[in-house]
Amino acid sequence: MSATRRPRRTWLVVLLVALGACAWWLIYDHLESFAKWLTYGLLGMAAGNRLAKTVAFFVFEAPKVMMLLTVIVFGVGIVRSFFTPERTRRILAGKRETLGNVLASLLGVVTPFCSCSAVPLFIGFVTTGVPLGVTFSFLIAAPMINEVALVLLFGLFGWKVAALYAGTGLVIAMVAGWVIGRLRLERWVEGWVYETASGVGLAGDEAPLSWNDRVRFGGDAVKDIVGKVWPYVLAGIAVGATIHGYVPQDFMASIMGKGAWWSVPLAVVIGIPMYSNAAGIIPVVQALLGKGAALGTVLAFMMSVIGLSLPEMIILRKVLKVPLIATFAGVVGLGILVVGYVFNIVL
């Protein structure tokens, strides 16, 4: 539509994006030296001082994470402009279960998804021949492997932890969806769902997007997501910075350390009701990790915060009976527990 209405020069958009990328890299590359200069030079703080440690941490991490967040959300926004739920459904409909679970988990990462649309999406999938277990693989992967979580994990823990998180999250989505499919739980889907005549093909016939539209899509994603999470991220980093400077070394070892077997289930249970503040929790958790918490416990906590959200379960109650929601939470929770223990043992 807009491609024909106003043939705006694509090269101009490309040039602007390229210029922005260069400026971004220049600033990002100098953040660490800037933070050191500000803390120890301009503010004249003594190295080794607790307050100085806190300030240096915040001045470096806060802009770093915000910049990473902006660029990744923009990139993911552009990738997502290629995938719509309609397209994903067409790929998944009628697929054999095992292959379907794998595909659904991967597509869950790149398809735009918001938990407020979980119900229409669920109905749209199961009434057009996407198996129940495959639908669940999608519904588990979509919120769990989320760009904000990945950015924070990458920025604060490094790429290995971010990759571990994404990898194990995908495996949990595939296996949990497969298990739910094997259990044949269709009887616990509310009866009216399968009777609903879903109007297939009515929606989704929007005109193909031009590159200008895709860039705008990415920009909108940044405004939308970064605009919503930035206070949590900054608050989280501020708390994290304080812990970093003031809490004694090895303080967390007794509570969240490898030795405490109950720490993984506890982390999962505490994580379920926390949802919107996920972005603020990661920096806190990162600081705790430096004080002796175990990585497996931390990953389990992260996954249960994002992957098992109470509000989403309440929304899904409209289409699923309680035993199915409980099974869903149970299977995913079990997967998260296994991940937590395995990493505590292996790493």
Partner: protein
Amino acid sequence: MKVLVLGTGCAKCKKLFAEAEKAVAASGVPAELEKVEKMDEIIAYGVMMTPALVVDGEVKCSGRIPKLAEIASWLTTAAAKNG
């Protein structure tokens, strides 16, 4: 002409409704704006992402909030079609 905003009442749905209201006023097209919040009615339009905008029975967009000018252009095109 009938303009429907489909959505269960999340923040984005309210925003789309407000945008559609403005677009109706700006375009000067005689249109009735209505909210559809019942899940089965939303599903009947084949929408998988809310909010969605329906103009004269046709789903124009779903899962996003279009620009005011975009909504206005749908309204004027639909009005021209109706004669």
